[in-house]
Amino acid sequence: MSEMAMYTKDLSVYYGEKQAIKKVSMDFAAREVIALIGPSGCGKSTFLRSLNRMNDVIAGARVEGEIWINGRNINAPDTDVVRLRQNIGMVWQKPNPFHKSIYENIAFGPRYHGIRDKRKLDEIVESCLRKTALWDEVKDRLKGSALALSGGQQQRLCIARSLTVQPSILLMDEPASALDPVSTAKIEELIAELKKEYCIVIVTHNMYQAARVSDKTGFFLMGDLVEYDDTQKIFTNPSQRSTDDYISGRFG
């Protein structure tokens, strides 16, 4: 059995009276890409956000059930959420670099967590930019504004930034949907490269992207995890009729 990065047990999320996620139990193996797909409002983004406790900040949101990472249930009230988010990186749909230099974008996290040594920070900046294949493109303008980068470069910068605090899990919410096809292909290549070290959970509306990049796919419908299996199985022979209908474009 492969090494487990994280698992949920009967995870439910409520917005007020409405149950957005219904007792979802899901395993996430280390060094695998897991795609979450489903029509708008199916709960896949809510589920993703609950994995690093981001629903905490939404008024009226309530989370039940367990999320286990490194032998700890992170839904327990005594969890240090800042430490938790150090272990779980997050990448959003629209690239959101800080209004700072490229260098400062990357150095921000490590500094926040107490690293002051300039040489150490330089090392982290270079290695994270290399991991996201940005180093050669930006090494001559590290002091330049991150906002001058193209959209695709900004997104890779944000991924690099999420790596600086050495997480084991990366959550990505539609990381390529605002990008052109070439930048999208680069992000997908990057995902394939990063999965050698990280467990990556990606929400995507693009089913073919899910088919291309992921090892496992989970199909959500109205808050239920309808089917969760090897991606190849899901896209050639799903066991549930509703999965087949959704990925074949019969609804959604």
């Binding site: 089913m207 073919y208 088919a211 899901i234 896209f235 050639t236 022979n237 799903p238 999965t243 087949d244 990925i247 074949s248 474009g249 019969r250 959604g252």
Partner: protein
Amino acid sequence: MVTRRELDIGLNQLQDMLVDMGKKVEKALGEAMAALSNLDAQAARKVVEADPELNRIEEQISEVGARLIATQQPVATDLRRVLAALRIASDLERMGDLAVDVAKAAIRMEGQTLIKPLIDLPLMAEMVQEMISDSIRSFLEENVDLAYKMAKDDDQVDELFGKIFRELAGMMAEDPKVINQSMLLLFVARYIERIADHATNIGESVVYLVTSKRPDLN
């Protein structure tokens, strides 16, 4: 989101072309067998001349299949429908070639008289014609039971082939003068038996299409 229209149109085109191919193959086998029974070389040549049309439809099916995969990205059941259609088309194309081989045997026997009236060979051809139409019907109806029936029919065809083989071998042993024609008729039996194998392959493709399992019906 995916629009189904183009994909549905393409899947229907594939279906129609396969039905057309199936009918043409069935007809080719029937006519080739009749040409052989009557030693009518002219009728046999017509079967040979009709074959390029089958090849053309098969190419068209490949093109439509490739286009659907490239532009519509079919998945799950739709993907299996396209893959099954491509495999079935190549089986039907091979069946057409074998029907041509039967016709060519009739051409080679032009001017001869049959060493015996043909009884079992036409019977075999009839059984296989029915298998062809059943195999196409099992595809259209996505009917697994009918697809599995191919295996049973194929066994009967094999049995009949064994009977023909023994009969012709006996005749050759008794009279060397019939060896030439007996060999040709034996080849014909073999061609028809191969057509039945391809019909059985179609049954396998249908089982794959419906269940995604790959059974061995041969």
